[in-house]
Symmetry: C2
Subunit: 229 residues, 2 copies
C-alpha cells in the first residue's frame, strides 16, 4: 500500500495516542481510504521521510507527503472530492478552524495537565527523556508541577465542554446530523485521554459522553479498536 | 415594505442593542434584503403580531413570521438561495450551531455581568421594572449583586475570546476568508456591549478587535450606524 500514516505511540506500538493523529485516522476512515499505520516514538519523528516534519501526523500518499492534521484534512478533501466530505462546504472549513482553535486553547491545556504523567509513564525511556525536557521547557516547570494542576483541571473540564453540551441540544454532531472533521477535532482530544489515562473525563450521564460514544462507534468502531486505558 | 424586523431597544429608539437581533440585522444585510426596523421595548414584545413570541428577533417577511435568530438565518438561507450564503454549505450550518453554543455559554454570561447595569439604565421605566424582575429571578440575586461580578468578568473576557484570537492566525473570519453567519453570532455579543456600555471590552491591539472592526465595516458600515456608547 502506498498510503502510510505515521502515528505517535509509546512503548506499546499498538496504542497510538496522539490527538492530532486520531483526527487524521478518523478523517481517512471518513473518506473510506485504506492506509497503513506506522507507529513511531517521539524521538523517531524528526528522522521520518528525510526530516519532513518534527510533528505527527505525517501522511505519505503515494508521491505526496502532507503534515498537520488540518492540512491533511484539506488535502484529502481536495484530492478525493468524490468521497464523503469532511467539511460539507466552505463554511464547514471556516468554522472547523474555530473548532480547532477552541479545542486547542480550551481542552488541550486542561487535558494535558490531567494526563501528562500517564503519557510520560507509557513512553520508552529515550522518549521519556525527550518528553520531560520538551514539556518542562514549554511549561517552565517540572512535569510533576504541571501534573499538580491535574485535579483542578479535571474538576473544571466539564464546564469547558459546556459549548458542546449546549450544541447537542440542537443536533447530534458538530457537523450537524452527521459527523464531519469538526467532530474528529474534539474527538481526538478526548480519545487521547481515553487511551493514555485511567482518569474518566466524562460522567456517563453527560450528553457529551453520548456524543463521544457515537464517535467511537463510527467507521466500524475504529476508535474502539484501541481499548481505554 | 413587507419585511419588518422587530428589534429591542431602550428609551432611545434609534439604538437597537439586542445581540440576537444584531445577528439577524447582519444576516439580512448579508443577503442584500431590505427591511424596516420596528423598535420595541421589553414589555411590548409579547403583544407583537398577536402574541407570536416572547423574545426578539421576530421577522415578518410578507406572509411569513419567523422567530429565533438561528431559525431566521436558516429561513433566509432556504428562502433566498440565490443570495450570498450565510452558511456556505451544510457543514457551515452544523458548526455555526457550535459557535452559537460557545458564544451563548462563554461570552454572554460574562458580558451580561459587565453591562447589566448599563442595560437597565437605558430602558424606559416600565421596561426597567420588567428587566429587574426577570433577571433577578434568572440569577437568583439582585441586579446589583450580578453587576458586582462585572469587574472580574471584564478582566477574564480576553481569555474567553482566546479561541477566536487563535483562529484569526489562520483566517480573517469565522467563515474563513469572508464572513458568514458564524461571524454575526459572535459579532452580536460584542456589538450588544458596544452599544449599551462605555466599558471597552477589547484592547485596541487585540486581533479580536481587528476582526470586530472588520465586522463593523461590513455592509456599508451597518454596525457603525449605531455609535458606541
Amino acid at each position: 500500500m502506498t498510503r502510510k500514516l505515521y502515528s505517535l505511540c509509546g512503548s506499546d506500538r499498538m496504542r497510538p495516542f496522539s490527538p492530532h493523529v486520531w483526527k487524521t485516522t478518523m478523517a481517512l476512515a471518513h473518506k473510506g481510504l485504506d492506509f497503513d499505520t506506522v507507529p513511531v516514538g517521539f524521538t523517531e519523528i524528526s528522522a521520518l521521510e528525510e526530516g519532513a516534519t518534527r510533528l505527527v501526523p505525517l501522511l505519505r500518499d503515494g508521491e505526496r507527503l502532507v503534515k498537520d492534521s488540518f492540512d491533511i484534512a484539506l488535502y484529502l478533501e481536495e484530492t478525493y472530492p468524490d468521497r464523503p466530505s469532511l467539511f460539507a462546504g466552505e463554511g464547514g472549513k471556516g468554522s472547523a478552524r474555530f473548532v480547532e482553535a477552541w479545542s486547542q486553547t480550551t481542552l488541550h491545556p486542561a487535558i494535558t495537565r490531567i494526563i501528562i504523567r500517564d503519557i510520560h509513564d507509557r513512553l520508552d525511556p529515550v522518549d521519556q527523556t525527550y518528553f520531560r525536557q520538551s514539556r518542562e521547557t514549554r511549561f517552565g516547570k517540572s512535569l510533576e508541577a504541571v501534573a499538580e494542576g491535574g485535579a483542578e483541571a479535571l474538576a473544571g473540564l466539564s464546564e469547558r465542554l459546556e459549548p458542546v453540551r449546549h450544541m447537542l441540544k440542537s443536533q447530534d454532531f458538530l457537523g450537524g446530523a452527521s459527523p464531519l472533521f469538526a467532530d474528529y477535532i474534539v474527538f481526538g482530544a478526548l480519545q487521547w485521554a481515553r487511551i493514555v489515562s485511567p482518569e474518566r473525563l466524562l460522567r456517563a450521564d453527560d450528553p457529551v459522553s453520548d456524543w463521544f460514544e457515537r464517535c467511537l462507534d463510527l467507521h466500524d468502531g475504529l476508535g474502539r479498536s484501541v481499548t481505554a486505558a
